[in-house]
Subunit: 197 residues, 2 copies
């Protein structure tokens, strides 16, 4: 129904997660309202994304250079590593603003059913860093699913012999949550890990 | 927090309607999973959109040439014009598949409060077409709002003297609708325009 350029663009938008036919159409047509400068910037950002963005040689975070801005930052506490699943988790922690250590991006979680084994994610480079960079504490901050727990267990077992302190972020009831909607397992964990006040 | 290319891309996505910070981030990062070919196509579709897409010289629908595919289609009924607000309304009618006449895209509705007067939308070219192309019927298919009704009234008054048949698409209760959620005005119109069975 639409001319080819519009149809192509709608098809591209439809390839993005959560974008269906109607939304893709709306987004594609909305581009007519943008300034030419924004359009050019949009187009080139998409084109250059994969070539401009590399992974930090140390922590596998997104970077445009060899090392990411966090690994290069001299003011960070270099003896603590927070292990996360994806680069966007780093952004989440950075937005929080109170963590001052380094990161290590696994780029996935161990999931044998999906064919993801320990050697497929960045575990070896984590062990290397811990041995080489005098790391004192490794904070495991992966999501609380079977895959996350498996990965955390695997890493902690590997690190046991190195003598580094291994911690895991707390699971429990999120602030502001309605108690009646909390699942039993979370409640059990919250009870188990209760702290004295 | 993100390298510049990613940050730029997130900002671009945020300029699209209904896309907030979180969604923009998710969409931008999801591009990493697309094939290089798709990325290039995406980038160039965006860049070429405004330059490739013109408006049909006759009906103001989207086209890549001088006239749109509908105006060029010899099999269409050339004495009926359906008047719509935007090019995407044409697509809606075409998807329906039973209308075989031509279209006229107004590119807006009369709205004095927003500074949109009759001369700001494609009314003059509609009158010209009706006088020149031996049009027998003009179907007004604008949305049933104050602006839509004003525009329909304005056009029908202008056309009154030409003797062309002027019709308006029916307003009433949509199929499958729950009667209790129908507003009073729609119900009134539906009652008024009742048909014999």
């Amino acid at each position: 129904m639409y001319p080819k350029t519009i149809k192509d663009l709608i098809d591209c938008f439809k390839k993005l997660p959560g974008i269906g036919e109607k939304t893709a159409e709306r987004l594609a047509l909305s581009l007519f309202a943008l300034d030419d400068e924004v359009i050019l910037n949009f187009s080139s950002s998409i084109k250059n994304l994969k070539s401009n963005i590399k992974r930090c040689k140390k922590c596998h975070n997104f970077t445009e250079g060899d090392l990411c801005s966090i690994c290069l930052d001299e003011s960070r506490e270099k003896s603590v590593i927070c292990v996360v699943e994806e680069p966007k988790n780093v952004v989440l922690f950075e937005k929080m603003g109170t963590y001052n250590g380094l990161y290590h991006v696994l780029d996935g979680l161990i999931s044998p059913l999906d064919g993801i084994n320990p050697e497929d994610i960045n575990i070896k480079s984590l062990i290397d860093r811990i041995e080489k960079d005098k790391i004192k504490e490794v904070i495991l901050a992966v999501r609380p699913t079977i895959e996350g727990e498996t990965t955390a267990l695997y890493i902690s077992k590997l690190l046991n012999k190195t003598g580094v302190k291994i911690t895991k972020i707390a699971h429990g009831i999120p602030l502001g949550a309605d108690m009646e909607y909390i699942d039993a397992l979370t409640l059990e964990l919250a009870l188990e890990n209760r702290t004295e006040i």
